[in-house]
Symmetry: C2
Subunit: 478 residues, 2 copies
């Protein structure tokens, strides 16, 4: 296997240098290329095809839950961004400013949207008059810009692709329900389509979104023990509605402010897939979003009948799966390595002997398990093997998270774990930002979330020893 | 009918004020809303759903012809934009400039992409080495910005959504073939999905794209006799390749420059749909891209069994069509007008008497023809009626174009027609830009294209009387 790998292109091993392994994989699996624009990536066909599959899947889930897509301008006038104070404080330091159109200086600067709450609110003020206009359940697929200093492909870039849902509701309860519903949609998608287990929980006040009343998050555990915030869902109360003067006539005939949510996931999920499932041979893709689910590699393809039969399998499988026939001139070993690098979930090998025996060899990318399959029931065997890959990936990722989840009862233990290990640390917290900041200052570790499923580890805050309010997952983050 | 219309919202009549009719329709059919950003529109759910249908259809056509989607950065460094001289001259006057990131002034200005030739070339220089890497057939769906002074929804806006294909080829012939193939894809799409007849032809040198060797266009005729350039396809030769130093080792083992194309259509197509098919009751949508193809309106819905039966039809039809059941409290007449305003191709009326007779009434939006249909073969009747609407729209649009196409043999005739009529003027041309400019200065009319199917109207240029080289379609344009 090691030899075959070298036939294609070497990548750094994970254990040697995880960060280097990551950038090797994104480049050599041809997911991205660097561009001439600092911090902006080029998403290449193979990477973009993963995003298209993510989009298609999520978009169907959004539509099933009653959401409609819209498109808002990519620019926000400075005065509009400033309407909600917490929001502008959070975002103004990291936006790109357009100051000139053609040869003329603009009378008001425009920022390139870092997120679109302000634009949606401006529109909602125009179109919401009565409770009959509610709820408004809008979503937008677009790119956004945040002027980050340090960037990494998919994980943190100046421009990235995402979706942003923005909804307005008659009551607080309905808006809160929407916030949690969309968090569930994200968590289900991560489990069912990305084979990525996530923790669901609430952000502390310190870590919540600029302008939100409460922020919920899904947190995933990467292979190296570093956490990835993979999606967030925010409840805003009526703060933006008041700032933007969005009112509606209620069932009681009185004017009221609607309650708001927003929620988003981005191309960062692709980074999550890479760091959750990848290995030293490259990418490992969950079948639901893999651009190629099955690659057919003919063995001794110059021999009579091999290519013809391989093509027959291709035609059979393409009706149900995303399948590719690799009939290029390179050696089978070279092809094996290339498609392993690209994370194709299943490989089918078909040679003269297989044809003689009316069979083929099916090889799983995740654990390299080989199975001899009769050509008579190829479709069902492929279908089962894809499901097995998905389940195998999920189980392995869950085990990684469990292995990397530690419990700290007091501050010394917390410091010791954070010095020695990467992973989640479960610990009790009094609810004070002061303790959260002290933990970060001493250990470099931030709160990830207050999980929906809390445990009673002790009754004291791990930092100050005062009575604990919540259990918190802490961890280093991408 | 006039009475019903007033039940919803009045729109200006086409003949009274076509421009006002257009803006009334885009607003009242809820396609767009104006935003706080000058010249940028908000595409509302109903408008965006049309765009999603256009995207889905075209994207499948692009993939069938071997193209792959990618995503390039939205910013172009000023130095990159300047690499190809004609291109920068064409675009620099109308770009938005980002000069600050956060609180810092950038060392180099970035423009928001007006089109992405320069970014694709920069990337192609990295990834093309050998003839084996060719062709590269990439496409991108994104938004672009052009700092237009005068804007109109869908037709000309500061930001718009589009796709831009950018391809690289081993030979001139292959690139030229691609250029024409994509023009055909656009023309077929306009005919088959938008019911919009288009002329295919080549732009004159004066009207071609900045930096192109040749530009091909599809030109549609709007209801008011004004032409709409609906899509373009460009052949670049190796000019950009030379400017960006993109080379490949050819089959002869020598270094060569690849040949390039680009092609695009935009949300402007939605403007084309509105002005090709719309009428005084509002929008008329071609079935292939209509968000709702069939609306079911129960008559006397309070009567026993009506809503239940209507819901049964809805469940039957939704398996094959995009269908909506309008069971709101408003009167049927009010609903008729609203769905006419929104251009829904077919309406199904179902009342107690219809139910008694196992029938329903199917009404076409384009000509308001009513047919009584047995519920036994509803699906096939709806399918046929949708096809009939499509064909009816196409025939009507073609007739409009034919009625509005005039022939001018000499300059006086040309001036007379252009003063009295809106439409295409067919006339011979010597090939000199001087004559093209004189025609524009005197009549305000520009060349639309040299059509692929030329006629020999005379042997003299309509302007200077010297020997003619080509027949040209001329016309006022959006």
């Amino acid at each position: 296997m090691a030899q075959q790998k070298k036939l294609v292109e070497e990548i750094t091993s994970m254990n040697e240098d995880f960060a280097k392994w990551y950038t090797d994989v994104v480049k050599k699996a041809e997911l991205i290329d660097y561009s001439s624009v600092r911090g902006c990536m080029i998403i290449r066909p193979y990477g973009y095809a993963i995003w298209e599959n993510i989009q298609k899947d999520l978009d169907a889930r959004f539509k099933q839950t009653g959401h409609e897509n819209v498109y808002m301008p990519m620019f926000i006038p400075e005065s509009l961004l400033q309407k909600e104070k917490d929001h502008v404080d959070g975002f103004a330091p990291e936006v790109a400013w357009v100051t000139h159109g053609g040869k003329e200086k603009l009378t008001e600067r425009l920022c390139v949207r870092p997120t679109s709450e302000t634009l949606f609110c401006d529109h909602y003020a125009n179109i919401i008059q009565s409770y009959r206009d509610l709820p408004k359940l809008y979503n937008q697929w677009c790119s956004v810009v945040r002027w980050e200093k340090t960037t990494r492909p998919f994980l943190r870039s100046v421009e990235f692709l995402w979706q942003e849902g923005h909804t307005m509701h008659e009551t607080k309860e309905q808006a809160e329900q929407e916030t949690l519903q969309m968090l569930d949609v994200y968590a289900d998608f991560c489990k069912e389509s990305l084979a990525m287990p996530v923790l669901k929980g609430q952000k502390t006040d310190k870590e919540k979104f600029a302008g939100a009343v409460s922020t919920y998050t899904i947190e995933a555990m990467m292979h190296d023990g570093v956490a990835l915030q993979s999606g967030t869902s925010h409840y805003f109360g009526d703060g933006f509605a008041k700032a933007f003067n969005i009112t509606f006539t209620g069932r009681d005939n009185k004017l009221a402010f609607p309650h708001q949510t927003s929620w988003g996931v981005s191309t960062r999920l692709i980074g999550g897939i890479i760091m959750t499932h990848g290995d030293d041979s490259g990418l490992v893709l969950p079948p639901a979003v893999a651009p190629v689910q099955v690659v057919i590699i003919p063995i001794a393809q110059h021999k009579e009948g091999v290519l013809e039969k391989a093509n027959g399998l291709f035609e059979r499988l393409r009706a149900q799966f995303r399948v590719k026939l690799d009939d290029r001139d390179n050696s089978p070993g070279w092809k094996f390595s290339e498609h392993e690098m690209k994370g194709v979930p299943l490989r089918i090998e078909l040679g003269p002997k297989d044809i003689e025996n009316n069979q083929c060899v099916v090889v799983r990318r995740d654990n390299r398990e080989k199975t001899i399959v009769s050509l008579d029931n190829l479709e069902s065997a492929v279908s089962e093997a894809l499901k097995a890959v998905h389940d195998g990936l999920y189980e392995r990722a869950l085990k990684n998270r469990e292995d990397r989840t530690y419990t700290a009862k007091d501050f010394d233990e917390f410091v010791k774990i954070s010095n020695e290990k990467n992973g989640f640390i479960k610990a009790m917290w009094c609810g004070e930002t002061e303790c959260e900041e002290k933990i970060k200052d001493v250990t470099g570790v931030k709160s990830r979330c207050i999980p929906f499923e809390e445990e009673q580890i002790s009754d004291k805050c791990v930092c100050c020893g005062k009575p604990a309010k919540s259990m918190v997952f802490w961890g280093k983050q991408y």
